[in-house]
């Protein structure tokens, strides 16, 4: 496996952006936030399918947890209503807590899994929760084509 990209900083400095892949939302269960786990063809040579699917499934689980309608969300809603929603100045909503967890998870995944493979995941909240944007980087020193993501000379 190539070790050109040891960490995120090195990725940014020594690599150039070649392509971006967008993982779209999966609406089969309604309007809940869920992303498609279909493996995009552009990433076939960059990352193993299982790793990618695990990441997306984990993100979907986090979002499902945030949007779960149950006892805790009712309690939060009623309590907030009674305090005319001023309580949100003091405490964080459950959704915001889960978003922080998601942000940490994405950071960790980027460091451990994606950056070593020349990829970078953007938190969906930065894109309006519409897509998971995966940036595909090429090593700047590589003489391979800059548009394709499949023929990097910085092989694994």
């Amino acid at each position: 496996m190539a070790t050109e990209f040891h960490n995120l900083q090195e990725l940014r400095h020594s690599a150039s952006l070649a392509n971006k892949v967008f993982i779209q939302r999966d609406y089969t269960d309604g309007t809940v936030c869920k992303f498609q786990t279909k493996f995009p063809s552009e990433l076939e040579s960059r990352i193993e399918r299982t790793l990618f699917e695990d990441t997306v499934k984990m993100l979907n689980n986090y979002y499902a947890e945030a949007e779960k309608i149950g006892g805790q969300s009712y309690l939060e809603g009623c309590l907030a209503c009674l305090t005319i929603y001023l309580i949100f100045l003091c405490i964080e909503t459950r959704y915001e807590k889960v978003l922080k967890k998601i942000s940490r998870y994405i950071q960790e995944q980027n460091e451990k899994v994606y950056a070593p493979r020349g990829l970078l995941i953007t938190d969906p909240i930065e894109r309006g929760m519409r897509v998971i944007e995966i940036s595909v980087y090429e090593d700047r020193g590589s003489s391979g084509s800059s548009s394709g993501s499949s023929t990097t000379s910085s092989g694994r």
Binding site: K20, V21, Y27, G30, G77, I84, Y85, T122, R130
Partner: protein, 382 residues
């Protein structure tokens, strides 16, 4: 040391919103009717507190003005929360995403012969065993999520778009629908309350004697309050009833007006839980969705350290700008029958509205067949 004023993201947001308090407050551009709403509520309540409450507190119970104050505070809080919050605006697609979608559309359409119109930009998704069509928004360059719609007044796509309400000076969407509902509900209660106690006041003071004191202000204020409340009652209570109906069916005003689930195409509402309690709970007690706009994030002017944005995303955004042009040619916007004429020339002109169904962008309160036909008259007769 050069002190530079930071540019926050709200300053560069497209769309026709106005922002106050350095991005903390977000409203539509036209706020005149909102000021009228404020004036009517505060004015009527002030008259009530000044002229009715002293008498009622002494002769009936001091709890009456106390409860009125609580109700008034709740109404104002809900109104301000509805008016000042982000209704659930979907940010426009950045160029790379827009290009990616264009390429997908081109691939899906295949070869279109010259002179032939390309097919309309619609994506079919299956939601709970119903086929729902997602339309493409030419202004925002995205396929709108289900239940989202583009508001032409604010020039934004809004998630779970209900309607644009001039009375609150904002769109009503996923994030502020419950506040809007609580506002109409509490305003109905407040109106009924003031109306009832005005009548009680007149009766207590003995009808005949009451109006003899023409020199004092009290009878005139009472009459004014009764008039305002009378006309408000019909409109606001009607509106509350209409929205209660919509909530029990898990529908939006927009869907109701367009007749999306009226059954003539045998398409049932795929979002409804088929249970009134569950529908109400989802709409009113669901999770509080965060804003995806990041209005107060700091725009990165140069390579100084990023602040509130996620560090990796920020640098991706920065580094993508110079490089994206070399890797992907910008696909020309494919004109089709749904493209408004002015949208044809360029991909970059982000000011066009999707005109695939003009009705959906101007969902006024009036034309609903159900209850609130006088909705426009509603508060205009205050």
């Amino acid at each position: 040391m050069i002190t530079r004023k930071v540019t926050r993201k709200w300053e560069k947001l497209p769309g026709k919103n106005t922002f106050c308090c350095d991005g903390r407050v977000m409203m539509a551009r036209q706020k005149g009717v909102f000021y009228l709403t404020l004036f009517l509520i505060i004015g009527t309540c002030s008259l009530f507190f000044a002229f009715e409450c002293p008498y009622l507190a002494v002769h009936l119970s001091p709890a009456i003005p106390v409860f009125a104050v609580l109700l008034f505070v709740f109404v104002m809080a809900m109104l301000l929360r509805t008016s000042f919050s982000d209704p659930g605006v979907l940010p426009r697609a950045l160029p790379e995403e827009a290009n990616f979608i264009e390429m997908e559309i081109e691939a899906a359409n295949g070869n279109v012969l010259a002179g032939q119109r390309p097919p309309p930009r619609i994506k079919n998704v299956q939601i709970n065993n119903q086929i729902v069509k997602l339309k493409y928004c030419y202004t925002c360059k995205i396929f709108r999520p289900p239940r989202a719609s583009h508001c032409s007044i604010c020039d934004n796509c809004v998630d779970r778009f209900d309607h644009h309400c001039p009375w609150v000076g904002n769109c009503v969407g996923k994030r502020n629908y419950r506040y809007f509902y609580l506002f109409t509900l509490s305003l109905s209660l407040l109106t009924i309350y003031i109306f009832a106690f005005d009548i009680v006041h007149v009766v207590l003071r003995e009808y005949r004697n009451f109006f003899e004191h023409v020199v004092s202000l009290t009878p005139h204020c009472t009459v004014l309050e009764v008039l305002v409340c009378f006309f408000t009652l019909w409109s606001v209570v009607g509106l509350t009833g209409f929205h209660t109906y919509l909530i029990s069916l898990n529908q939006t005003t927009n869907e109701d007006i367009k007749g999306s689930w009226s059954g003539k195409n045998r398409v049932q509402n795929p979002y409804s839980h088929k249970n009134i309690i569950e529908n109400c709970c989802e709409v009113l007690c669901g999770p509080t969705y965060p804003s995806v706009l990041d209005r107060r994030g700091v725009m990165l002017e140069d390579s100084t350290s990023p602040t509130s944005s996620d560090a990796s995303a920020a640098s991706t955004h920065k580094s993508s700008n110079p490089v994206s042009q070399t890797t992907k040619s910008s696909a020309p916007l494919i004109p089709n029958e749904h493209t408004p004429d002015e949208a044809k020339p360029s991909i970059g002109a982000g000011t066009q509205k999707s005109t695939s169904s003009p009705k959906e962008e101007k969902p006024p309160s009036p034309t609903s067949p159900n209850a609130v036909a006088p909705a426009v008259i509603k508060e205009s007769a205050h």
